[in-house]
């Protein structure tokens, strides 16, 4: 059952909760509404459920082509799972699950035997067999969440809606349930829409991620698309771990020391870099520190493994007499470098003229660094502080001694 959200506008008095939202949720997909609090994601979910209604005349909600905008929640055939489960405290697990069936009009209600069977099936599905007679207060958080899910599924909904399903659970349980939910979704194939503020959760679970902010949709796409090509600075920052303070100042954290950076230019529409200017006097002590820091961090692939920060730093050194500067010279022997000139053509390091600009690649402990040389003044650190790095597009083949030709990846490709 696909969901089509068309031009939904919702205000509470003067407050705009949803500003002309349109969205397609394909049949059978698992879609995440991701955003900070106040972005409107929960309101949108509740409007899809029928617990709230959009401003009159503002838009439509279609389930598989059928207009359900005016249909009340009870008749829409949605299964809703609340953040705090909303289980019926005075009923057993079995009674909770059968509630939707018990309140059905006699004509539509399945026979008692069938109801019992459905309950047993559902309990097996959510791995809570044998707990029919328990009461909610006798269950753990994760178990309660699964009962809530089973209860929502008992009425055979066309669409499953989850409001921050794992928000109230601790980290370990959250991770387990996340994995379980994905498997579960793959098994039953029900169109699912869930709300979360946790980007890791959204990127890991969803087929389609909808990033929302301030009552608008910022970007929609697969997790890979959104991560690789964030369309706005907000999406980029929300998904990554940009070193930005809430008041807008950027900083670079080196071995525990915070260095405030001025004149930060964030380039919108670009892929993934922030250009930061560092005050000159901060520099001389930095090189070693950055190297140390880089040594400590691991390369990780977002979503697959635990992500640590990877600082891929590029900074300008001075090239004097055709040799690497003092700092680089220190590293000589440990690192190998390859140089490329302005035209992205490989050049011999020894032929580089002092004060000229070239790209230098430095490899250190398996990580590659780009050092741009602009002359005698340290000017810019190009820092991509993110939860991941893409090894394939990184130049890994360039060895100073080797003179090996680049194989498939041109390092110029990844430089913006």
């Amino acid at each position: 059952m696909s969901i089509s959200i068309q031009s939904i506008h919702k205000t509470f008095g003067n407050y705009i909760a949803l500003d002309d939202i349109s969205l397609e949720v394909p049949n059978g997909s698992l879609t995440a509404l991701l955003g900070p609090s106040g972005s409107g994601k929960t309101t949108l979910l509740r409007i899809v459920a029928g617990l709230e209604f959009a401003n009159p005349g503002s838009g439509r909600i279609l389930f598989h082509g059928e207009d359900v905008s005016e249909v009340p929640a009870g008749k829409r055939g949605v299964g809703f799972v609340f953040q705090h489960y909303a289980l019926f405290k005075h009923m057993t697990v079995a009674q909770n699950i059968t509630f939707g069936l018990d309140v059905m009009p006699h004509s539509r209600r399945p026979k008692r035997a069938e109801i019992r069977e459905r309950v047993a099936d559902l309990l097996r599905l959510v791995k809570l067999d044998g707990l029919e007679k328990r009461c909610p207060h006798e269950l753990s958080g994760g178990q309660r969440q699964r009962v809530a899910l089973a209860r929502a599924l008992a009425i055979r909904p066309k669409v499953l809606l989850l409001d921050e399903p794992f928000g109230a659970l601790d980290a370990q349980v959250r991770k387990e349930l996340r994995r379980w939910l994905r498997q579960f979704h793959d098994e039953i194939g029900l169109t699912t829409l869930f709300v979360t503020h946790d980007q890791e959760e959204a990127l890991e679970l969803a087929d389609q991620v909808v990033v929302m902010r301030n009552a608008r949709i910022e970007q929609t796409g697969t997790p890979q698309d959104i991560y690789d090509e964030p369309r706005t600075a907000f999406v980029y920052e929300f998904l990554g771990e940009v070193n930005k303070l809430p008041d807008g100042r950027y900083f670079l954290k080196i071995t525990g020391q915070m260095i405030q950076l001025n004149n930060v230019k964030v380039q919108e529409g670009l892929t993934s870099s922030v250009t930061i200017e560092v005050p000159e006097d901060k520099f001389s002590s930095i090189d070693e520190a950055i190297v140390e820091e880089a040594k400590k961090s691991k390369v990780a692939w977002f979503g697959r493994e635990l992500s640590d920060e990877t600082i891929q730093a590029a900074f300008q050194g001075s090239v004097t007499d055709g040799c690497l500067s003092a700092s680089l010279a220190k590293l000589k022997g440990e690192v190998v470098t390859k140089a490329f000139n302005n035209q992205k053509e490989p050049v011999e390091l020894s032929t580089v003229e002092p004060g000229s600009q070239c790209d230098l690649f430095v490899e250190l402990s398996g990580l590659w660094f780009l050092k741009k040389s602009f002359g005698p003044v340290w000017r810019i650190i190009q820092a991509r502080v993110r939860g991941g790095v893409r090894p394939p597009s990184f130049p890994t083949q360039y060895m100073f001694e080797d003179e090996a030709e680049p194989e498939e990846d041109d390092p110029a490709d990844y430089v913006d």
Binding site: G74, F80, F82, A86, G100
Partner: protein, 277 residues
């Protein structure tokens, strides 16, 4: 080492002694005095006072007033609490304040307003006289006054309870296809049952014990419009002390029963709250 949140032993004993002293002085002694005075002239007089025609009539009247007021106000309280806690609408705050009105108003005024409305020279007086329907100085007046003063009890008990419980469970029930009455019966009611009982208990205690408002509207017609509290006052004014106290023991017993049931409810509420943590 004692826990940080308690006082030292001497302070604790002092506070406990003070509390016990207050309890004894203001509660136990008067209660004891009622029973002592009631039996001062012997058990025979005691039982005779209770069997007297006027006394029986007073008891009957009290029971009728309570039998009408309590269910009415329970229904009203449930409806008001449901409305106020599950819905947001303009004037909600005003409604909540109005519900508390009978509490704020002096019982004498609470009775007087009805006299002003329905009395012989009241707004509806002539109309009522024309239709030969008596409210003031008759049973309907007593009932009206009792309903008015016990108005808020159930609502005041339920509103904070239902606010605290939130409407999540009701919303869940909505998404599962339940309709209004089903939601109320299956979801809301079981969650509020102890609070409801508590409110009903208090409502009943006040309905049976109300004096001021009923006194103004009843007219004190012996055997016809005297509730038990009024009858006690009449007896006392006629210097029939033992009889007065004998009837007072009935009210005292009512108080004791109410307190007992109240404790039981509190016990079950804590039990339920602890279970649901």
């Amino acid at each position: 080492m004692r826990p940080v949140t308690t006082e030292s032993a001497p302070v604790r004993w002092l506070l406990i002694s003070l509390a016990v002293l207050t309890l004894v002085l203001f509660l136990l002694l008067p209660l004891l005095a009622v029973f002592v005075e009631a039996f001062r002239r012997g058990a025979e007089v005691f039982f005779a006072s209770l069997h007297e025609e006027a006394a029986l009539s007073a008891v009957r009247l009290t029971l009728i007033a309570a039998a009408v007021a309590v269910p009415l106000n329970t229904l009203f309280g449930l409806a008001a609490a449901w409305l106020v806690t599950k819905f947001r609408f303009r004037g909600r705050a005003l409604l909540v304040s109005l519900i508390d009105l009978p509490f704020a108003v002096s019982p004498v005024i609470a009775g007087l307003v009805w006299v002003l409305l329905f009395g012989a020279r009241g707004w509806f007086g002539p109309w009522l006289a024309a239709h030969d329907f008596k409210i003031i100085f008759a049973l309907p007046g007593i009932i009206v006054a009792t309903v008015f003063v016990t108005f808020p009890f159930v609502a005041r008990e339920l509103i904070p309870l239902m606010e605290a419980q939130g409407s999540d469970q009701e919303q869940a029930a909505v998404t599962l296809g339940a309709r209004g009455w089903q939601i109320f019966r299956r979801v809301t009611l079981p969650n509020i049952k102890w609070g409801l009982l508590y409110g009903v208990l208090l409502c009943n205690a006040r309905a049976m014990g109300e004096f001021g408002a009923v006194s103004v509207v009843s007219g004190h017609i012996r055997g016809k419009t005297n509730t038990l509290p009024l009858h006690i006052e009449v007896l006392y004014n006629e210097y029939q002390f033992s009889a007065a106290f004998a009837c007072a023991t009935l009210l005292a017993l009512l108080a004791l029963v109410t307190l007992g049931l109240k404790s039981a409810v509190e016990h079950f509420t804590h039990h339920q709250a602890a279970r649901h943590k």
